[in-house]
């Protein structure tokens, strides 16, 4: 039907079917700031303003909006610099809207996928209420789910924008230093309140980031590293520019859909796609009979993939509810859906296996009986064994014999989802050279190209993978999971194809965190010295073994490495880590931020808490007494390295003790933990509320920084005529801010401002190889590559500049090694200088012409661990078991922080994801393998108006293996929140819960046990 829409003050006459949603129509019209995140209105990524109110455009028919005004982010500000054009069509000076500006300045953007929606929600609020409270801002943002930020900085950005729009003077953003008394070893036990740390004239408008001064020797001379710079991609993201994989229009593009299995385990006896193929508008239907049978692994890892090859694009057998049965490409999504319904499949149902404890039992159904299965290490498909780990360090039995106490307990962790707001999405097409272009939302573009080549029967050189902006990944996109679907269909049809998961597909068919059953056994002396520590793990990898070995290996490698014991046990720890990773007919697990470590620390930190309580030891002192320290060997480095030869590694830096000191001060541990009165909750009349109790808990954690002797990143830097630089990296910014911190490091070495480094990532045709965004490696590995490349470029600049200064100025000759690059100049010790643009023009046009450029790569022989102390404060309803988390504090040693704004955003977002792991997130299946969670209504992730207070503290050390002393930050916040919350619950009411999340019924049952 013909309708007229009023979009951004423009009347648009368009033809829209009656059932077309406003989201679909707006994107069809090119308003790409409006994003798809779900189909049921829970995520809010598709927010537009309808008559000034924020609404979900996926929930509105386009025709419903006739007669109303629609506003999208495209209607707000513009980039302030557009050449000769200085004013917009209304005569207003160009520039961003104050809300957009505040989001840029405040670090409120990570992946940026939900940013346009948040900005519109904020605009609707501020248009009505120019002076909102923080509570009101949180309520206004509550309709837009964000998986990256933890909402701290978006809320602060809205408050900051409100102040700007009211005409108030706002201080520039600077990191807030931790109070001195937090840094001293004899700190004042009175905890400063958050309010006392904020400036009186701009409350809550400044980023709450506490940081020590960097301890690096020359940190005071740094101009870029350590500064809260704005993200290099922020301006385009606040404008909602078409930066993501789906934000592209190609002539004749088909829409792909996948028929998913309704059965957990079955053979496809017969499949008839003839009716589907004859449906008008259908371009192709592919079944297992139509494409090459190539076994591979979807795990986006380096070659050779450390896991079994057990997957086919399409197979005769389905192994979980949601497994692939057929692919369809059609002129529209609706036609493709109709075609799926016309595919006639006859299944032979097979016995299904859901209980991992039964997977290896004789007679259990065998999931992988295909002859093409390729083993890795000890995998054995006849026993449903995807991977197998046996690590013994020291003599564990001797350690147990030397102990005064033995503590044993069982723990369990659930399957959970990454839940990035941008679904998996890919666009494929043949380019003019008949090379297959794959534009995909991936964390691993280079791995994707390598893995897909044999699957598609194309050589690597005829595939180009483009990674545009990514709307969050968290490990979920370290998987080559959907690219083959679109690629097969493009090969079949010759036409461009887009394939985008629905939110339901994300829940039924994508990857997740591995669920595990964990048994701990620990020997402890009376004084609290750990003499031996043992962990046995049974991991459910689901139907396929992607990341099976490495995720569970990491569970031990990090979580079991932290507590080595004290005294002689420090040099000779006794640690055992055994694991079986088995197949079941559940959906496959995979990579998820933390990569096995949160599972391990759930068990380890719950176990340590119980030991400390049983032995009446201070939980902080007990942990620190046994914890790994600088100068000691990472114990697992002597025993295991992801299926490769281990190489011993000494810990160079460990700020754990400082993390504990600062973290406990921030949360007020000493005023709370041992004080019964604090554990009581009173109402506004100071009357005790009998059914509420407060508690406080802690967990200490460590992670790694990249995979030693394996992870490699490359960088290329090229100098332009004006003295600016193009930085090309294969590293994959999924919203973490890695493009920004890499640019900061380049700018630091090259002596220029951040806006003189134009960063591009990533494209397998143009950028150097990088293994991709995982293992908390980008700032460290890719950053070191950037520094190396920048140093080579700087050297060429110095040589040329020395000649130029000597030839064009009076005075002594100057030498390259004496020159400094700073403020866009190359400066001699006596003050003579040439600008970088002069150097560039000279190099490109005038004398001994050359392109000043360099390519470098970096691989690390070590994986320096970050450390952290994570604290939680909770209120427990002892009648119902409800747990409300009131405050989370994380003090973290991630080495030198290159950008406190982006890094603290990582910590806040990670804590928030981990909070879901603690109290509400899990994926459950019924007796037939049918998933309980199919939408964000079932799978609840935290909203802006229900968040606890979050506090981030950086305890900076200087890691000597990196030129700027950095270690990882991205994954470690996932590790300790859940056990800290559980430990706080135990502190509050005695309820000891050993399987997360801490659902009300679980806590209630634990309370019933203790009476």
């Amino acid at each position: 039907m013909e309708i007229i829409l009023d979009v951004n003050q423009h009347k648009l006459s368009v033809d829209a079917p009656p059932g077309e949603t406003l989201l679909s129509l707006l994107r069809r019209l090119g308003y790409f700031s409006v994003k798809h995140g779900c189909e049921t209105g829970e995520c809010g990524a598709c927010t537009v303003l309808l008559d000034g109110k924020p609404v979900n455009s996926c929930m509105l028919l386009a025709v419903q909006t006739v007669g109303h005004t629609i506003e999208t982010v495209e209607n707000l500000g513009e980039h302030p610099d557009q050449g000769w054009k200085k004013v917009d069509e209304h005569g207003e000076a160009l520039g961003l809207h104050p809300i957009q500006q505040a989001f840029v300045e405040n670090g409120a953007i990570q992946c940026g996928y939900c940013t346009p929606a948040q900005i519109l929600a904020a605009k609707a609020l501020l248009d009505e209420n120019p002076s909102p409270s923080e509570v009101q801002v949180r309520q206004a943002l509550a309709g837009v789910l964000c998986r990256c930020t933890g909402y701290v900085k978006p809320v602060q950005a809205v408050l900051r924008a409100a102040a700007v729009m009211r005409g108030e003077k706002i201080d520039p953003l600077e990191p807030i230093l931790a109070p001195k008394d937090w840094l001293d070893s004899t700190f004042n036990p009175i905890t400063p309140s958050m309010e006392s740390l904020q400036t009186s004239d701009s409350p809550l408008t400044q980023a709450q980031v506490f940081t020590q001064k960097p301890t690096a020797r020359d940190a005071s001379q740094w101009q870029q590293v350590g500064k809260p710079e704005k993200k290099v991609d922020a301006i385009k993201l606040v404008q909602g520019k078409p930066a993501f994989a789906a934000d592209i229009e190609l002539r004749g593009m088909l829409v792909a859909k996948v028929l998913h299995s309704p059965h957990p385990h079955a053979l496809i006896r017969r499949i008839d796609a003839s009716q589907a193929r004859s449906l008008p508008g259908v371009a192709a239907v592919l079944t297992w009979q139509d494409i090459p049978r190539v076994v591979y692994s979807t795990a986006g890892q380096s070659h050779p993939i450390p896991g079994p090859l057990d997957t086919f694009s399409l197979d005769r057998k389905v192994r979980f509810v949601g497994d692939r049965v057929a692919f369809v490409a059609a002129e529209s999504a609706e036609i493709a859906e109709q075609a799926l319904a016309l595919i006639d499949v006859e299944y032979e149902l097979l016995p299904a296996l859901f209980d991992p404890t039964q997977s290896m039992q004789p007679g259990a159904p065998c999931l992988h009986d295909e002859p093409e299965f390729v083993n890795f290490a000890d995998s054995d498909p006849t026993r449903n064994l995807a991977a197998h780990i046996r690590i013994d360090i020291g003599d564990v039995e001797k350690g147990f014999a030397e102990a005064d106490h033995i503590f044993e307990a069982d723990y369990e962790v659930p399957k959970v989802q990454q839940a990035h707001i941008e679904p998996h999405v890919v666009v494929t097409y043949w380019d003019e050279d008949d090379r297959l272009v794959i534009r995909t939302s991936t964390q691993v573009p280079f791995h994707a190209r390598r893995i897909l080549a044999p699957v598609l029967d194309l050589p690597v050189k005829r595939i180009r993978v483009i990674k545009p902006r990514i709307g969050g990944g968290f490990g979920g996109k370290q998987e080559v999971m959907i690219e083959d679907v679109a690629a097969h269909l493009t090969i079949a049809t010759g036409r461009p194809v887009i394939y985008e998961y629905t939110r339901e597909e994300e829940f039924i068919a994508a990857r997740s965190r591995h669920p595990m059953l964990i048994r701990m056994k620990t020997g402890v002396k009376k004084d609290g010295t750990i003499t031996a520590n043992s962990m046995d793990v049974l991991t459910d990898t689901g139907a396929y073994g992607c990341h099976a070995l490495t995720v569970t290996g990491n569970t031990g490698h990090k979580a079991m490495a932290l507590y080595v014991g004290d005294g002689p046990y420090r040099d000779h720890p006794n640690i055992r880590f055994y694991a079986d990773i088995v197949y079941t007919n559940h959906p496959p697990a995979g990579a998820y931020r933390g990569y096995g470590v949160p599972q391990g620390f759930w068990a380890v930190e719950r176990h340590m808490e119980k030991i400390a309580r049983a032995l009446h030891l201070d939980p902080l002192e007990f942990r620190l007494k046994n914890a790994l320290r600088a100068g000691e060997l990472q114990p697992f480095s002597t025993a295991w390295s992801e299926g490769r030869a281990p190489r011993p590694e000494t810990i160079q830096t460990c700020g754990l003790e400082d993390c504990v000191r600062q973290g406990k001060a921030a949360i007020g541990w000493d005023q709370k933990f041992t004080y019964p009165d604090w554990h009581v909750v009173r109402d506004e009349r100071d009357q005790i509320i009998p059914y509420l109790r407060r508690g406080i808990g802690v967990a200490m954690v460590m992670q790694g920084t990249a995979i030693p002797y394996l992870d490699m990143g490359g960088a290329s830097i090229k100098m332009n005529d004006d003295g600016s630089f193009n930085l090309l990296v294969g590293a994959t910014d999924l919203g973490t801010g890695s493009d920004t911190v890499l640019a900061q490091m380049a700018a630091e070495v090259l002596g220029v401002g951040l806006d003189d480094v134009i960063t591009y990532s990533s494209d397998t045709d143009f950028t150097p190889f990088d293994k991709g965004a995982y293992a908390s490696s980008t700032t460290y590995i890719s950053g070191a590559a950037v520094v190396k490349a920048a140093q080579q470029v700087a050297e060429r600049i110095r040589i040329r500049a020395a000649r130029m200064i000597t030839e064009t100025t009076e005075g002594h000759p100057v030498y390259a090694q004496d020159l400094h690059l700073v403020d866009g100049k190359t400066i001699a010790p006596d003050g003579r200088y040439v600008t970088l643009s002069q150097v560039a023009l000279d190099a490109l046009h005038q004398q001994d012409q050359e392109q000043i450029m360099a390519v470098a790569s970096f691989m690390s022989p070590v994986s320096p661990p970050p450390f952290a102390a994570q604290f939680a404060e909770v209120t427990v309803d002892i009648q119902t078991g409800s747990v409300v988390v009131d405050h989370l504090v994380m003090a973290v040693d991630s080495g030198v922080i290159v950008n406190p704004l982006t890094a603290s955003g990582q910590i806040e977002g990670g804590m928030t994801q981990a909070l879901g792991y603690a109290v509400c997130e899990e994926m459950r299946y019924d007796a037939h393998g049918q998933p309980r969670e199919r939408s964000f209504a079932d799978y609840h992730i935290f909203e802006a108006d229900e968040m606890p207070e979050l506090t981030t503290l950086f305890v900076e050390t200087f890691e000597p293996s990196h030129p700027f002393g950095v270690k990882a930050a991205a994954e470690i916040p996932m590790d300790g929140v859940a056990p800290a919350v559980a430990n706080a619950v135990q502190d509050a009411c005695g309820a000891s819960v050993d399987d997360n999340p801490l659902l009300p019924e679980k806590v209630w049952r634990a309370l019933q046990k203790i009476g």
Binding site: K53, P54, M59, A140, C920, W1004
Partner: protein, 272 residues
């Protein structure tokens, strides 16, 4: 799949359209349920033009003495922002869908589509409001919300909800347990007590709709009745034992809150 879209300008047109049997034709409030992807084919009748007409019952928000009249096409967020809407109901309503969904969702659609996890529907069922409904060629008639929920099991073809009236005599309290504050209730209890002693207890968190556990002449024993009412309320989200025990606990809490209310909730309804 939505086959047809209509935006009638008169109530008569709307009633004629929704009385059709082919294609199946249903009233469209906000669309937060109907506009979701669906394999079913049907037509929708958008009520927005009718609600915007002066004096339309569908769009009304009116406080008359001690009772409220709320049009079926009123958006939930407008209700939340209405000064006269009682705080104790706002506290339930603010978790009914997200901030954005409440901008679209209507009262009528919410009442009709409510599942067993709706706190707001439980609150409404406890307060026992009267709905004004109409069919083609019939006078408008009044039915209770409980009757409407029962009708959902049979047929609502041709039925249009025009408005809801809440009498403001009862004291009211709502308590729930959920995974997080903004999550749907695993178990919730809504209790309304009238000056006469009449007590209605509604449970939510389980099944396809809120459950009226008690409608009796006094409050005594209603907690036991609530416990019994959810004694089989077992599903993938919670055990029956837990829900049953919590039903009693939450009802007792509601009664305590109600007993501490010194004034009738009419004061809150007036926005005082």
């Amino acid at each position: 799949m939505i086959l047809e879209y209509h935006r009638p300008q008169s109530l008569q047109q709307a009633l004629e359209l929704i009385a059709r049997s082919s294609p199946t034709t249903v009233p469209l409030g906000g669309g937060t349920i109907l506009n979701r992807p669906s394999s079913q084919a049907f037509a929708v009748v958008d009520l927005q033009a009718l609600a915007a007409q002066p004096g339309s019952l569908l769009g009304q928000l009116k406080l008359s003495g001690s009772s409220m009249t709320i049009g079926a096409a009123v958006r939930l967020q407008n209700l939340l922002e209405w000064d006269a809407f009682p705080i104790f109901l706002k506290n339930v309503l603010k978790y009914e869908g997200s901030h954005n969904l409440r901008q679209i969702a209507t009262l009528g659609g919410t009442l009709v589509a409510a599942d067993g996890h709706s706190g707001f529907a439980a609150a409404m069922l406890a307060l026992d409001p009267i709905l004004t409904v109409q069919r083609i060629n019939q006078q408008a008639q009044e039915i209770s919300y409980g009757e409407l929920l029962a009708l959902r099991q049979q047929t609502m073809t041709g039925l249009l909800i025009l408005s809801m009236d809440i009498a403001a005599q009862p004291k009211f309290a709502y308590q729930s347990v959920s995974r997080t504050p903004a999550d749907f209730p695993i178990i919730g209890a809504a209790v309304a007590v009238w000056p006469s002693g009449r007590t209605r207890v509604v449970l939510t968190g389980y099944g396809i709709s809120p459950l009226l556990a008690v409608d009796g002449p006094e409050a005594s024993g209603v907690d036991i009745a609530a416990r019994e009412a959810y004694s089989h309320a077992e599903d993938e989200w919670a055990s029956a034992g837990y829900r049953s025990t919590m039903a009693q606990t939450l009802v007792l809490r509601c009664l305590e809150k109600i007993s501490n209310q010194t004034e009738l909730r009419i004061d809150e309804i007036k926005g005082i």
